[in-house]
Amino acid sequence: MRISRRAFTAGAAAILASTGASAQQQPKKVLNVGMAAQDIGRLDPNYATTTIDLVVVGWMFNGLVRFRPGSMNPETIEPDLAERWQSSPDGKTWTFQLRRGVQFHGGYGEMKAGDVVFSLLRAADPQRSGFAADFRAFDAVEAVDDYTVRLRLKENVPSLLGLVTNYHGGMIVSKRAVEERGERFQREPIGTGPFAYGELRARQSLELVAHEQYFRGRPKLDRISYRFIQSDASRDLAFQNGEIDLMLGRQEQTWADRVKQIPNAAVDVFEPGELSMLHINVTQAPFNDIRVRQAVAHAINREELVRFKGADVSRMPQSVIPMGYLGSAQAPLLPFNQERARALLREAGHPNGLTVRVIHTQLPSMLAGMQVVQSQLRRVGINMEMEVVEHATFHAQIRRNLSPIVHYAAARFPIADTYLTQFFHSRSIVGTPTAVTNFCHTNIADAEIDAARVSTDANEQRRLWGEAQRKLAEQVCAVPMYEGLQVWGRRANLEYGHPLQGSLSLGPMITELTHFK
């Protein structure tokens, strides 16, 4: 049989047209994500601490309540696995009514009160959770019936709903899956979220599949391929080449500007802001003299730092805790004033300036900012010698008080109590048995932090948190420098299904509504 050229051309055109039409009718159903990682760490919400793990855990689990997708404002907390709740007048007993018919991934059955009790008690157990300290106010968690959970507190907490939200230990796991899977649960967990564990391709990707029985409806995406692409340059090239649709970006203006130039690409910049601060050890000479600390604060030019980092991806801080947290207040930060800095150094007995040796991580994103700080300090006569070490060494050494100034960038649960407690309460002083990250060795705001934590009066609570921030700023226990925001790149036709303003998991929330246009 012979086919004429004309017939062949017509046929080919018809095939192409039909392919094009079907491609138009069926948008892409697989989301390829590029993450700066070598591999997954632990997907058990109780041990997921790195950005790599947090992002993906956020797509697989639910809490009793949740932050509205795309927001990390505690005021947007809404029902998730619990339909409704009520608290006793003293705020110490909370009762949650669970949704009916919520299914766990992988045929692990319906989520019931037993799973919730198990999950919250597990989160509060230091042997089975890295976040047990957050739950220390729990007195009892009990199942009233299959769909009712009662929670009793030993003392008030700043936000009980914050503890049972879709964040860290608040995520609900399947009791049966944890018991059956043992250590395997760390990598192959079972939750109730819109996406379920599919397959882990060691050192290559984590494959998630749509949870067909998701209680808010089947996700519009069929699959997520979460690819581990360690090199920033390779991730950018893979995005440019169309091999990935969504990627972790860099907190750099030049990066954001470059990605915006790529066709069909958009850049998302969102909360939380990671507050970069110089934590000053107030017990060590010469920084036990407040004038020297004030000199450091006056030497720091925050505007220059924000210009250096980029106006779109960073912002000026306003306090010793990040902006937008419940209880964050405008604190009296010392303004940039080199003359005043020099005068203070003279008054403190350092007319020729001083030399200080600090330990710093080699992480490029942090080191570059610190090099700017180094030059700013030099201008007023403070010679900061940096010993640059790799990141794990940095974390070990700053916890042994080997650096009188510690440059630390962090975001925390968006309630003032968390940040204030971890960085400024005496219970968190490094080197003590209850240490967390108080590198300043200060205790001046303990009373306010403790009182605010158990206060049931929201106005009083805010006043106390504001007072704590004022004291810490006045005593220059830490010098806020800039807040770096989360930066991600995506295909412009990828719709999250919600406006993205913030995400506690540090990555965009991919929900049942996320799709390609």
Binding site: Q38, D39, I40, G41, R42, Y47, T49, T50, P126, Q127, S129, G130, F131, A132, A133, E183, Q186, R187, R201, A202, R203, Q204, S205, E207, R227, F228, I229, Q230, S231, A233, S234, L237, A238, Q240, N241, E243, V389, E390, H391, A392, T393, H395, A396, Q397, R399, A410, R412, Q422, S428, T432, P433, T434, A435, V436, T437
Partner: protein, 313 residues
């Protein structure tokens, strides 16, 4: 030959033990805490202490050491502190990628390096020789992450012949090989530069030998003199260099693995070091040392194939 291999493997045991001991002590001397890596920076000192106890890191050093050595002798390298998975599973997952890349780089390096070295030697101090020498010098001095990005820009982004991501979950052999091309070329060209230089100098030495001059005087064609008489003798140092470089390549291809986003032993070793995953690091280095021993034995055996005078007792 079987006895020879067994003897060499037995002789490697003390080396492995020595490496193991040094690594065991070194990783613990370096500051850093695996518990901190796992629990993150918000962990309290209490939580860290609890995890250290659970992982057995609070026990005396000698107890940890002997436990690891005895377990290793039983073939149990333990579990990763970070992932909780058996170390042997982690290695098995990445080793095929490392072997693919190393062998492909070896093939490319040999295919280009040996003929270029011979060609340069035969045209000593002429234009071709100069070009080859400069080319090989460039190959040696170009950092792999720069050449890698350059290859990606040209062949993946501009011409779109290859993907940026150098691995695929697909079982398709063709796809696997397609994705291997750029990383293999990246490493292979550097290897070619090494081999070119060694082959050139070995050939120059052999071409000046009396038996080569005699063969030429007898009227043996130049092609036969070079390929049959000279090359075979010049190959011994070339094989030595290939063997040495292959060993280095297994662990040192980490930058290529990162740029082309491929899993591999080198990347896993660096990751374990950054995370202070002690058992993982110990296990990986034992396996790495074992691979080096195997490569050395293979190199020695190749000598016998090239030169029948070399006997393995």
């Amino acid at each position: 030959m079987g006895r020879y291999i067994l003897k060499r493997l037995a002789a490697a045991v003390p080396t492995l033990l020595a490496v193991l001991t040094v690594v065991f002590l070194l990783v613990r001397v370096v500051p850093g805490d695996p518990a901190q890596t796992i629990l993150g920076d918000q962990a309290t000192a209490e939580a860290l202490a609890a995890l250290r106890a659970r992982l057995g890191l609070d026990r005396p050093l000698h107890v940890q050491y002997f436990e690891f050595v005895f377990a290793a002798l039983r073939g149990d390298l333990g579990n990763s502190l970070v992932s909780g998975r058996p170390i042997i599973d982690e290695v098995v997952a990445v080793l095929p990628h490392t072997i693919d890349l190393t062998l492909a780089a070896l093939v490319i390096g040999s295919i280009f390096g040996i003929p270029l070295g011979i060609w340069a030697a035969m045209h000593r101090n002429r234009f071709i020789d100069y070009v080859t020498r400069i080319g090989s010098l460039l190959g040696l001095s170009f950092p792999v992450f720069v050449s890698g990005i350059f290859l990606l820009l040209v062949f993946a982004l501009h011409w779109r012949w290859f993907p940026v991501i150098g691995t695929s979950s697909s079982a398709d052999f063709g796809d696997r090989m397609h994705r291997l091309v750029l990383p293999a070329v990246n490493l292979g060209l550097i290897m070619a530069a090494y081999i070119t230089r060694v082959t050139r100098s070995a050939m120059l030495q052999v071409l000046g030998e009396d038996y080569v001059r005699t063969a030429r005087a007898k009227g043996v064609p130049r092609r036969v003199v070079v390929w049959r008489h000279a090359l075979r003798n010049a190959l011994i140092p070339v094989v030595t260099v290939i063997g040495l470089y292959l060993g280095i390549l297994i662990g040192n291809s980490v930058l290529t693995e990162i740029v082309f986003n491929r899993p591999g032993l080198g990347k896993v070793i660096v990751g374990a070091l950054n995370q202070r995953d002690y058992p993982m690091l110990q296990g990986l280095l034992v396996i790495y040392c074992f691979l080096i021993v195997v490569v050395n034995i293979a190199t020695d055996l190749t000598y016998g194939l090239i030169d029948p005078r070399v006997k393995h007792a």
